[in-house]
Symmetry: C2
Subunit: 330 residues, 2 copies
Amino acid sequence: MIRVPFENLLAELARALLTLGFEADRAELCARLFAETTRDGVYTHGMNRFPRFIATIRNGSVDVGARAELVQTMGALERWDGHFGPGNLNAYACMERAIALARQHGIGCVALARTNHWMRGGSYGWQAAEAGAVGICWTNTLANLPPWGGLDARLGNNPLVMAAPRSSGPVVLDMAVSQFSYGTLEAYSRSGRELPVPGGFDEQGELTRDAAAIERSKRALPIGYWKGSGLSMMLDLVAAVLSGGNATRQIPLDPLRETGLSQVFIAMDARSFDASQVADGIIEFSRSAAPVQVGRPVRYPGEQTLRLRAENMLAGVPVEEQIWSDLLAM
Amino acid sequence: MIRVPFENLLAELARALLTLGFEADRAELCARLFAETTRDGVYTHGMNRFPRFIATIRNGSVDVGARAELVQTMGALERWDGHFGPGNLNAYACMERAIALARQHGIGCVALARTNHWMRGGSYGWQAAEAGAVGICWTNTLANLPPWGGLDARLGNNPLVMAAPRSSGPVVLDMAVSQFSYGTLEAYSRSGRELPVPGGFDEQGELTRDAAAIERSKRALPIGYWKGSGLSMMLDLVAAVLSGGNATRQIPLDPLRETGLSQVFIAMDARSFDASQVADGIIEFSRSAAPVQVGRPVRYPGEQTLRLRAENMLAGVPVEEQIWSDLLAM
């Protein structure tokens, strides 16, 4: 792991994306989204995911030149077609449009079909909050999680994002519906550590904290067991209904060919509301709870982001050495 | 427990509500919402909750004559004031308004302040779905759940409802953010049965399936541990910001004085979309998973409701004998 100044990371990413055929302004935005995700400490969906992003461009899953396009409007609700363009650019454009609709109508919704992996979902929550909007968005994914009561993967690990503006830093929840991602399970399994809470079933069908056993059974847990299972199904259903695009069951199972996703972006204009005051009150109230571990007060969603962002802007953004040298060689 | 024909239950409820000062049309709707909740098998929020509803009318928390009123419009997003009227009537009126806004703008949102407990949240999901709309709504509650990392109750057990229309029966998720309600914990504790999955911490701070131990520690679990904790905080924050009403921290802690809640009702007009086809495909796909228990296929949110509804319409709606005789005596 090395630390790279944020501006260098941004410049190298933009340069590399130009060589892949991105137009200049889109190379810059795409680079910024990857660099900011890494800077904010969401390493799994920033630079660590960049090689896979490149691979999906090279195998034709992602069309670098395609732009999301309006296909149907109902006023404050619009349907867009992602034309299999870069997932983060499509998502950014659609949240931008939802915010514009919200400024016009109070609330705006863009349902996006035929798009690609949006990388860090939280990016679009931050985007909404920084524009003074409450943002709610979610995506479906390929099937990688068994539903409650079932043995085979039939659910996506669909992330749900909710964000609200706040003058001293937005509150942003970015939450997938599985208790632990397969990436996290792999990290625990490799290190031999126990999961902090049960993360799935072992091959005997018992709840377990043994990540390796869950990898073998392929039975990771949705959050809240039957509840997260229902939530995942609902997110998939609403995304597919509103966008007219694919449901999880129609998305290719190969992660390198996971394309044609459906997403929903909702924004509510909160510029005239007292969002900061409300958020500060809620955060203060949470922190007034006696902590389980002395000296570790309750945190709010997004709190860690601001700390990691400050740290990484100062010390440089952590990037795997191999990924950095591959980027420089592009 | 006795079984009462649905129509009798409806008639007795409406009669009783008239004696409490409800106007005729409102007595009828309020009665219908209570009767349907019980008929649909959500016993905790139907007749079993009616005595508490009466108590909150008698102690002045609920004003039977108050109607929710529009206070601010931004087009497709409106703020309403519940004036401390009956929670189910206010919620029904606001979802009705959100549906009307959705028919006009594609999406509609009503944020409601100063209301009361909405009883079964799922009612407003069914309402939206039966009108051909995708419905999303949630409420905050008094603080009754410790946040992740904290020992004291600082979160509400805020229910989130998502619903989509489907010709052979809507798909309706009605999910509170705690793994088990205190009512459920009490039932397990009384019967001495173990919870099916860990539901909270014991007094030593260990995860446990012992409901009585959780009642003693008062540390029930949010779904997904840190995830449900963040989700609960977000639902509270967005409800309070959009409505301009109270956050959980401002709601009286006595369940009989739990008033001044904030709620959000969102509807998207799906009448021209293929909601049934999408839902059928997703349900069929889930059911194609090998079941954990032979003969028990994976269920979708709301599936059980239709079965219980049919059963209770045929055999009569189950009501506690004492509650029924108290109702007759009103």
